[in-house]
Symmetry: C2
Subunit: 309 residues, 2 copies
Amino acid sequence: MKGVAAALIGIDWGTTSARAYRLDGEGSVQDTREAPLGVQQVRGDFAQAFATLLGDWLHEPVPRIACGMIGSRQGWLEVPYIECPAPLDAFARGLVRTPGGALAIVPGLAGRDDDGTPDVMRGEETQIIGAVGPDAPWSLAVLPGTHSKWAIVRSGAIQTFATYMTGEVYAVLREHSILGRMAEGSGRVFADAAFRRGVQRALTKTSSADTLLHRLFGARTLALRADLAAEDTGDYLSGLLIGSEVAAGRDWATWHGARDATVLLLGSRALCARYAAALHEAGIATVSGPEHAAARGLWRIAKAAQLVP
Amino acid sequence: MKGVAAALIGIDWGTTSARAYRLDGEGSVQDTREAPLGVQQVRGDFAQAFATLLGDWLHEPVPRIACGMIGSRQGWLEVPYIECPAPLDAFARGLVRTPGGALAIVPGLAGRDDDGTPDVMRGEETQIIGAVGPDAPWSLAVLPGTHSKWAIVRSGAIQTFATYMTGEVYAVLREHSILGRMAEGSGRVFADAAFRRGVQRALTKTSSADTLLHRLFGARTLALRADLAAEDTGDYLSGLLIGSEVAAGRDWATWHGARDATVLLLGSRALCARYAAALHEAGIATVSGPEHAAARGLWRIAKAAQLVP
């Protein structure tokens, strides 16, 4: 345990892993602990997993707060979604405590497409709150991942967002489709040119055959016809998918008045680098979010809920 | 063996299975034999698989002709692609015999998108030739499947075509993604309303979030928010994917001058029924192709090559 007294324990508790942060009275991260105790792994005994993750931090007399899939139907307890547009206060008011009160859980966020189809996030809302200060007039945040999120923050509230299944589609195609079988052995070195070629194809609106279902097949035919090295098809596919997301997200952001906005990228360094490259190909500038965005968001929500002074 | 003398043995030899047809002097199918001896299963000893498939037909002194993946790099021998536009004669001229001459193999067909990206088919060209008579002035053929094909036939030649990975993307998402896990237990009864809802969503061009990567997530969120029964998500996903293909294929066909064309559907009855429903939702009329389209195509190519009188 560090010398500085803790003021809050925050947990970013997702599907595959959980990460705990020990924060001081200024909201600065003093220490972190991570464990493969995601909601999918734990399946039931969350109190035990909570104790395992925190270890000796469990005995510190400070409030604890968590965000992410821990608040889903498969989590410790289901916390109702907040609806867009959602200001910081709404998340603070929506906190729900586990039985016994050991942990306060941040609600997820729900929105709707133009046609009424629902969209949801759990965990990313907290990262966005952590990365976008309450005084920021405006922001377009992109959180790459299994289910990438694009979100517009305005006047201190998350106004609207859209999810893209880019990471999951990439994973299942790489692992289980004919494209993956062709790409065997690829990915050891990042094939930058192939990645950019995929991005470019996705960004180009031709008059015909202008869809992902068709373009995916190009990853196969280019290799088959010796126009792309087989070991580069994985990164070409990655570029095609991320490029498709960027093309769609750009249209979506423009529709919501965010044309020519700089994108705030939040997520793992390697994945954000790919997104930055794809966004730059699309003529969109990017800026990296702060470290420990989730911890910062948990701190802000805890402050708004007066869990910490 | 049937009483009528055989004039030709034709084989539709694909990735997972092989189907042999015994044709009489009029080109009518007298008998068929099928075996799970696809190119992926055989892996090498094709002469043995050929003998197993044909059985006592092997001793009939008639020409044999095959189409499909048997002519691919992974097949018995690689037969170079014909390039679009491809008349019947080009396939006849492009026939290649296996060593020893036991079997003549039909070449596959290659085309290019507007941006130069190659596209390929092996086997479908023969079905199209069998279904579209040489005198037909015009046709838009759709062959649903793992890798669906849309093809335009004009003046007796396959002018151009486009592949959509609809079937394979459906399969990997159903078997390996979060959407499949939600849809567990579905598919026993066809959820027609959910299928049509997916199709409608895919056909609707909204001003934002108008892409498959985003819409796929709707299969999850609709169920999560109790707006779709979990057991119906499989058919909703099917509708979303087939609808996306139809929306793209319609644009593609329009671009190639085939607006308002009636679609000739070639393939399995169950899958063609889904495509017919989706095409009708898009305002496109359909007509079913003839039975044994591959056998008819093999007969026509054999005639053009003077393998049969």
